[in-house]
Symmetry: C2
DNA sequence: CGGTATCCATTTGGATACTG
DNA sequence: CAGTATCCAAATGGATACCG
């Protein structure tokens, strides 16, 4: 145990699958981009209505936002409060559990914006190299075939 | 700018979509569970061969591990080293960029294992409540219809 | 406003078989 | 060992229409 004091406790013995299972399970829910977006934005803004969220999350469809919010609510990460008014008003905010997710999500978010450029660059280099290889391939194939 | 000193720089003005795009783009790649697994496990173990990774990542198929590793390599997060031996040996490790991802990934991993139980509990409660509502629904429907 | 319901195209990913 | 290739079922998710 002392060996891992500075390491992630949960990253030990991943082969035992117990932690991998927990991680899988959690990632299946909160690992998709819409969930990350919702938690990130709710964490930043406190309380938001459905259409406010929709406007702030670039490209999300009504269907996906609804599904995402239901799942987050089911997992105890978000509260949904309905105000019986006309027109209806529904407000969403992070639960206490949801707020604890804010920190790791924000870390990931910051990493993303900080390293997006590096990733795009790496992709360009990789793709250029792949194309160069593909361009040299036909000759070999032609030789083999003909 | 001074208002957000202690906040996530990237979480501002999400409605401008620029950061949302970066986040989306990064999450589409590194946000799936296999990528998180690979980065987490490679970060913990340093260097691993293909089948070592496969054994440590519970439930991954050969196909998915291959695809995941190719994408991580393309994004500059993982290096792939081929040793021209028989039988072939291929070793994977994190790049410097990949190592910077380790920290946020580990944070998420730790959060997952720490809160998996709470999430499962929340789901049980939510589902029980949903079933109760579903059970009371038929009467209303019957009344409306008949 | 804040959904639900339905349809349908695309994507995802497991299983299986084959290869250098 | 470390893949690649193919097939196919299931999940994902957008578009659209309708509802309280």
């Amino acid at each position: 145990m002392s060996l891992q004091d500075s390491q992630s406790q949960s990253l030990q013995d991943t082969s035992k699958s117990a932690n991998c299972t927990a991680m899988s399970d959690v990632l299946n829910r909160i690992g998709d981009k819409w969930s990350v977006m919702v938690v990130g934005i709710l964490g930043q803004n406190g309380t938001l209505r459905f259409n406010e969220l929709k406007r702030m999350i670039n490209g999300v469809s009504q269907r996906m936002l609804t599904l995402t919010l239901r799942n987050l609510e089911r997992d105890g990460l978000v509260t949904r409060t309905i105000y019986p008014e006309v027109p209806p008003r529904v407000e969403y905010q992070l639960t206490e559990l949801g707020k604890t997710l804010q920190k790791p999500i924000t870390a990931l978010w910051d990493w993303s914006s900080a390293n997006h450029g590096s990733i795009m660059d790496a992709r360009s280099i990789y793709d250029a190299r792949s194309e160069a290889l593909a361009a040299s391939e036909p000759r070999k194939v032609a030789y083999v075939r003909g």
